[in-house]
């Protein structure tokens, strides 16, 4: 059994296709692992399907035709195809993706009990490639957070140290993969919500170019920034999932796909490639252990033939400020639809509609969501628009120009993924600004819409831990020009091989029976 769970997605899919292992056996092993979740990583797993009412919309009607007929997970879940590059592979899905008939909450109490009438395009593409929905993973409410402590359904625990956060907002997906509860997972990244938890959980997280994967069915937080991407144990699996999910979607006007598609990476060296290190990194606040891992990784790049070049991203330091105007502004509009009228939570209504709106939203949203709705509403208000939203858009344009300038000289930009390793639960919940700084290295790429991958690069002792505290994973971020995913994955693959994180940290890696055991 343990052998089955040790396989990467690409390995398992190949063995299933070759008839070397049974898809049923493989799927059952993962369903059992997911059901044994002790990290609060899942909000719903396939094991719970029997508890769902079959006629889920309450009106006596069953699911629309063409969806969810006779699957191992009941009549309401998206049916996987019999064959395809992911045939027989179960995948954990962040609860921000709609899944027909399966509860979908985006981590919010305001969507408690909501069972969508349709399935997100990214999930449909996975199931069309033969994948199964293994479960829906916990997350910060509406993807707002960097620690998963803003979930309406309780925090997720980091499998490396259950006293610490897994990062966020896709904390459940990251913890599920790192903790051996899923072979791979889907997440979303708006300002770092894939890369930062991947870093804190010691796995690979990829944020593709904005527009590479359809956003249809991804519950919107900040529409101009949100992008779907995979959590995997290695770069090859990230490429495999991206290859299946990318593409133009007629249901998403902003989707463009990746020209030429994506192939599994094979590169083993970095000869001739130029890696830009932002000069501003020297001034940045980051843990000594994180800096050490970053510098060691830079040395590895050089050993592989890569060239390190100093670049400058002069406006990146304003990224967080711009992000925390733009993202809440869009969120204030996107979240206005949760009003208790058509679905989800409804409170009050005895008096009149206004009272129902107020009570539903007061009781359904958590404090961070309310904070951002208020920030965003203010930023868009008449008389303040130019000073906030308009100004933030200008900063965004400047940051994108900074990257354009850099990429004229280098192939990639490299930084640490997160300024620290996983921090303790509760450590930053009273200080939103300190929490926001987690995204310092990831937000600029989101604002520029460019792809970036987080790789586990080493281990470091937490600065908030006592003597002898176990060392925790440190992530390394590589960013590339828009739609240069193939090149990015090739470089990441070569570096991954040289870093040998899995072998080096083997005893500590939770899914290998390390911390999790």
């Amino acid at each position: 059994m343990a052998d089955l769970l040790d396989l990467t997605v690409a390995e398992a899919a190949a063995k299933i296709a070759a008839g070397e292992i049974s898809a049923d056996e493989y799927g059952s092993a993962w369903r059992a692992a997911a059901a044994a979740d002790e990290l609060n990583a899942y909000l719903w797993t396939a094991e719970h399907v029997d508890a769902l009412e079959p006629d889920w919309n309450g009106a006596g009607e069953s699911a629309p035709a063409g969806e969810g007929e006779a699957t191992p997970y009941g009549s309401n879940t998206p049916a996987p195809a019999d064959s395809g590059p992911l045939a027989g592979v179960p995948i954990a899905i962040k609860d921000i993706f709609t899944t027909q008939g399966i509860p979908t909450t985006a981590g919010s109490r305001i969507l408690e009990g909501y069972r969508p009438p349709y399935t997100a395009t990214a999930v449909r593409k996975l199931t069309a490639a033969g994948a199964h929905v293994l479960g829906k993973t916990n997350m910060d409410e509406f993807a707002m957070g960097s620690s998963n402590e803003n979930s309406g359904y309780g925090p997720v625990l980091n499998p490396w140290d259950r006293g610490r956060v897994p990062g966020g907002s896709s904390g459940g997906s990251a913890a599920a993969v790192a903790g051996g509860l899923a072979p791979a997972a889907l997440g979303t990244d708006t300002g770092g919500s894939i890369r930062q938890p991947a870093s804190l959980c010691g796995i690979v997280g990829l944020k593709p170019t904005y527009g590479a994967i359809s956003r249809f069915g991804m519950i919107a937080f900040a529409s101009s920034l949100d992008q779907c991407g995979p959590f995997t144990r290695d770069v090859t699996d990230a490429a495999l999932l991206l290859s299946v999910m990318q593409g133009v979607d007629p249901l998403d006007s902003t989707s463009v796909g990746i020209e030429g598609g994506i192939e599994l990476p094979s590169r083993e060296d970095l000869a001739g490639l130029r890696f830009g290190v932002p000069r501003e990194l020297g001034e940045a606040t980051l843990d000594a252990g994180v800096r050490a891992v970053f510098e060691a990784t830079v040395s590895r790049i050089e050993e592989l033939g890569g060239q390190i070049v100093e670049i400058t991203l002069p406006h990146a330091e304003h990224g967080i400020s711009a992000y925390y105007v733009l993202a809440p502004a869009e969120a204030s509009s996107n979240l206005a639809r949760f009003d208790g009228v058509r679905y989800g939570l409804r409170e009050g209504g005895d008096e009149d509609l206004i009272e129902m709106y107020e009570r539903t939203r007061s009781e359904g949203f958590g404090p961070e969501v309310k904070r951002r709705i208020m920030l965003g509403t203010y930023a868009l208000s008449s008389g303040y628009y130019d000073a906030y939203y308009g100004q933030a858009q200008k900063v965004r344009t400047r940051i994108a120009q900074d990257f354009d300038t850099a990429f004229a000289d280098v192939d990639f930009v490299i930084t640490p993924t997160s300024p620290s390793v996983a921090f303790e639960l509760g450590a930053k919940t009273d200080d939103p600004l300190a929490m926001y700084m987690n995204d310092f290295f990831t937000v600029p790429m989101s604002l520029a819409g460019i792809p970036a991958i987080a790789l586990p690069a080493g281990l470091a002792a937490p600065e908030d831990g006592g003597d002898g505290a176990p060392r925790l994973p440190v992530g390394f971020q590589i960013a590339a020009p828009a739609f240069a995913e193939q090149k990015l994955l090739e470089a990441a693959h070569a570096l991954e091989g040289a870093l040998g994180f899995e072998a080096a940290a083997s005893d500590a890696i939770p899914w290998k029976g390390g911390a999790h055991a």
């Binding site: 921000i96 993706f97 709609t98 979908t104 985006a106 969507l111 909501y114 969508p116 009438p117 349709y118 997100a120 956003r215 249809f216 069915g217 991804m218 519950i219 919107a220 900040a222 529409s223 101009s224 007629p250 249901l251 998403d252 006007s253 902003t254 502004a329 869009e330 204030s332 509009s333 206005a336 639809r337 949760f338 009003d339 009228v341 058509r342 679905y343 009149d352 509609l353 206004i354 709106y357 509403t377 868009l380 208000s381 008449s382 628009y385 939203y389």
Partner: protein, 478 residues
Amino acid sequence: MPEELEAVIGLEIHVQLSTRTKMFCGCELSFGDEPNVHTCPICLAHPGVLPVPNEEAIRYALKIGMALGCEIAPRSIFHRKNYFYPDSPKAYQISQYDIPICGEGKLGDIRITRAHLEEDAAKTIHVGESGRIHGSAASLVDFNRGGTPLVEIVTEPDLRDAAEAAEWARLLRETVRQLGVSDVNMEEGSLRVDANVSVRPAGSTELGVKTELKNMNSFRFLQRGIEAELERQRELIGAGGTVEQETLHFDPASGDLTSLRSKEEAHDYRYFPEPDLVAIAPTEAMLQEARESLPELPAARTARYEAELGLDEAQARLLAGDPDQATYFEAVVAAVGKGAEPRVVANWVTGDLTAALRASDDAERPAVKPLADLIAAVASKQVSHAGGKQVLAILVADGDADVAEVIEREGLAQMGGDDGELAGIVAAAIDADPAAAEQIRSGNGKAIGAIVGAVMRETKGRADGGEVNRLIREQLGL
């Protein structure tokens, strides 16, 4: 003596496009169906859905823009207009704000400010005595209409009285109708005209405080609503008061205007660019297609009839307002050729023919040639006008009848002066009414009517009125 107050009126027109599906999803458009049957996750604003613009709606908007002489934006964008109300399931309307698809234009003498694309709201009904959201027993929503494509057309405040506003709105309706992009039915709400109304001292160039009038669901109500509001504003200012900016609701039953001002109407829409959509950049092919599909529109046709055919403005506009009739008219003009003036053809088509069709149930217009033959026959005095009307009645019943044959068969050939038959009838009529003859002789011109009438009765309308007059006067030695 209070100074004279001039009316200043601008219109905001919402045109529901008659596309097959909604603006941002695949649900079919409908009117009068059972509530909430034309809905999907997208137009119900389920979590995670995205809008995809209706290409046909964009093509329709381009046609409207070109028909109104608007500048077409090479690149226009959508904005979100944020407001909480159950008729808007997303809590924002996707509309256009600072860069509309159609910019400045002109229809007739009235300048167009802009025309932009947006989506219609759902229908809400507040059950209970208040009729408003506050204090209602329940609020019901029908999402069938939600998401219907709309083009909103805004004019400059160029209209100067209520009748002119209604007349111009009719021209706009006819123009849009001829494009085939909307049903433009005011009763059903596929054409909705709101008016911005203010007054100012005559000769002033500054604008007074305006009020916005809504819910006038016919051209008659539009005119009455504006008239009532102008009267209210003039009285208010005449009494030393000032007009307050507000939205007024027209009640068709009473003709009253009531203020809609309340807390829920105080909006800050927090417009920002819609991140779920990309810019609309029409290709040269799309522009060309829209341009080439434009029919000759009422304003242009009116001008052409005046300039080239010598029609007066009222007659030209009457014909141009009905494209079928105008096409028929032009065919008859061509067939008549030099046989009659276009003005005469216009009189036949809009006057006698329209009356004859109305008198005869489900009659169709006769073929072009017989009508042209008839008009030429009347013009050349082969048949009198009265006789011509009798022929027309036969043509309406049988559209392919041969006019010469009908005239012959019915004995309607005009009596000329040559064979003496008409002169004999005139002489007999004078003899039969010596009193009238005497009055005519003594200078009472009106008395001639009695003798003309007698001749016409005798000839069953075959005589030409002018000729009869001439003969009477000749025989009386005048």
